[in-house]
Symmetry: none
Subunit: 410 residues, 2 copies
């Protein structure tokens, strides 16, 4: 069963505001086994909203609308729905009385315009609003359910929980939904897709989604079945094939981020880590310590932005810097060794590179990044050339460094 969500209100069409009610509604609908297939944000324009409602109803069996139920002429949701499904609106004195009482309780008089809120579409059920004046409405028409909800998030959530969940459960076919998430590092999105699409393309259930952000890829498999056992079996079948193809490029199977995964590995070994950062200047340490409890394994770091600081803070030989340049395998390894020696940490991870935008005196091309890792068994390094702007190159370098550490940990 599919749903569409329409947020109504011209303020949601400015550069400063975003509709977030739809995130809450999506979560609740997904939990019932309902997919959201289109979301809309429409301004306070009755005719435009009416055509949007018509398109939504032609695609899905559930159409949720939020906002536009207030008392002013800008509040067009009731009129737009009445227009699009061709129903009259009927004044209900008892609703009007309730609204009047609400104002009375707050010590205020109801404005004449609030009477607009006492109209229901013919055949609609009224959904009481415990936190505001605007009642919601529940209307079924030609096999489609329309739900009118208030715009303010706390009013919408309370009404949805108390009035809509049980009604929806009655009309949604019973099913079980299980999700499996693989997180992957060390390969590009297109590469990954080419590798695994021959498997997941064979199945429409589970549904597969691939998400990539700054070198971090997530593969989501979501199975919908009549029983939970069936859903889990389906995930095991397809997930097993995906896993076989991706191998150790998968770093987590439970949604954990790379920094959480690496942190757990370090904690398990009772090992500690320090960092030495040049091009990323603190971003790697920031990421490692974004995990609560990182103080169990993270001891500290050095941000050595200049050649002099590489020598001062980490003891990198000035001759090495002179001979190979600061963006080199040799300097990356010396930085890692220096950080390990000076902190006494089990591991030290270093990054040196050129994040741009200018080339570094012609020595290292923009995007060239070297990663060093000093460990109890010696020092190693790796390098890669990234493309993109400064922020992207820095993010990719941090991802690569954490993944290098993950693969190197015993």
């Amino acid at each position: 069963m599919n749903a569409e969500i329409i947020a109504v209100g011209s303020e949601m069409l400015t550069a400063a505001r975003i509709d977030t009610n739809s995130l809450y509604l999506t979560e609740k609908l997904n939990n019932l086994g309902v997919e959201v297939v289109t979301k809309y944000v429409v301004g306070d324009d009755r005719d435009r909203l009416a055509s949007t409602i018509r398109l939504a109803a032609s695609n899905s069996q559930i159409v949720l609308l939020s906002g536009g139920l207030g008392p002013t002429e800008d509040d067009v949701t009731r009129d737009a729905l009445a227009l699009s499904i061709d129903r009259r609106q009927i004044f209900h004195q008892e609703i009007c009385d309730q609204i009047e009482q609400r104002f009375h309780k707050m010590g205020r008089r109801m404005a004449e315009t609030n009477k607009r809120q006492a109209f229901l579409l013919e055949g609609a059920e009224m959904l009481p609003n415990d936190h505001g004046t605007a009642p919601g409405q529940w209307i079924e028409d030609s096999g489609c359910v329309f739900v009118l909800l208030p715009g303010p998030p706390h009013e919408l959530k309370a009404m949805f929980e108390r009035q809509c969940l049980s009604r929806l459960t009655r009309i949604v076919p019973k099913q079980f939904i299980e999700t499996l998430i693989f997180r992957v590092a060390g390969m590009g999105e297109a590469d990954l897709d080419q590798t695994i699409s021959p498997v997941y393309k064979k199945y429409s259930n589970p549904a597969t989604t691939v998400l990539a952000h700054n070198g971090d890829i997530q593969v989501h498999l979501r199975a919908r079945c009549k029983t939970q056992a069936e859903a889990l079996a389906l995930l095991a079948e397809v997930g097993g094939q995906v896993e076989a193809l991706l191998g150790d490029r998968i770093y987590s199977r439970n949604g954990d981020s790379l920094e959480v995964t690496v942190g757990a590995m370090l904690r398990k070994q009772r090992a500690t880590i320090a960092v030495a950062e040049s091009a990323t200047a603190g971003a790697l340490a920031d990421r490692i310590t974004s995990v609560a409890g990182a103080s169990d394994y993270f001891v500290g770091g050095f941000i050595t932005y200049t050649r002099a600081m590489k020598t001062e803070m980490l003891g990198v030989d000035p001759e090495l810097l002179q001979r190979f340049g600061p963006v080199s395998k040799e300097v990356a390894e010396a930085m890692a060794q220096g950080a390990r020696r000076r902190t006494g940490a089990s591991y030290a991870l270093s990054i040196t590179g050129n994040a741009g935008p200018a080339t570094d005196g012609g020595q290292a091309p923009v995007g060239m990044m070297y990663i060093g890792l000093a460990s109890p068994s010696g020092v190693t390094s790796t390098h890669r050339q990234f493309l993109g702007d400064r922020a992207r190159i820095r993010a990719f370098a941090g991802q690569m460094a954490l993944d290098f550490l993950r693969r190197s940990l015993p």
Copy 2:
């Protein structure tokens, strides 16, 4: 002139993701005098997207689509637009060669599927993508302009700035829109609004928007007039009143971020800066160095997550740590002094605090943050108690440190 924005991608229909490209696009369109009247999020479904495109084109003269231009079969935007305006798609060898070269530069081979990205709709102009493989497209059809943009925000922004702004300027009726942006630190959003709303509420032109994020507030005034002189005069009138009320809490008047503002002050003085971070663990240095050219004034930093590292790296007296605890005015000042001494920088900024989630052995409450600043004229410090989660507290602390530096610089 009106526009519609369609974000394409099933991942944008989950409870975990939201389309934010439309906020950027809305700002740019509004600056040209174009209003956004409907926004859509559509999944990777060709036919549904095609009907959405038809509805959008029936309402507005500009339809922007973001996402769905990747190489996989899930990427349906090209096909959906071809279907909805009934145009063929044509393979362009030269585009294919460019994509292949891009992979070559990264030392990788182009996957066969990437060839899908070398197709353009008949009559479309190709919009080069400087940051990714997917080229954009610009197509005019029956009085409507369709623009296909890539989904990743940095790719979309670069393409829109470089390729779309000038093209849109040619088709949008001339009016003058001038914007004045005040950026403010050191006060809360509600405080600020209470302070300046008596002024801006008197004017519908310029339109005023207040945006707050992690302690950083922006006040945007946007004037639309028949002549540029009129728009500028209006901004001067209203902006002058706002400025008088906010005083030195305004840190920039041209949109520059706090790190850019502080960096420019340091550069002008030919001064240098180092940092010593505990609770923020690299986030402050990361922010300072996110500005291209930061190597002119940023020399390096120490991330001292443990007590031992504060002593080892910065020479903080263990007795001080014992007596006042690591989250204290005394330790913040000693950290700043140590960082300044060890790097030789003109200024050193330190942060020590408890970002949570657990209290630090009962000593410092979650959210307590001390900032130290060592300068040629001695050492000073400040502190504040923040509320919220770990990420929010760390972000507020970095903002507070930069603002403390800004107000302390001669």
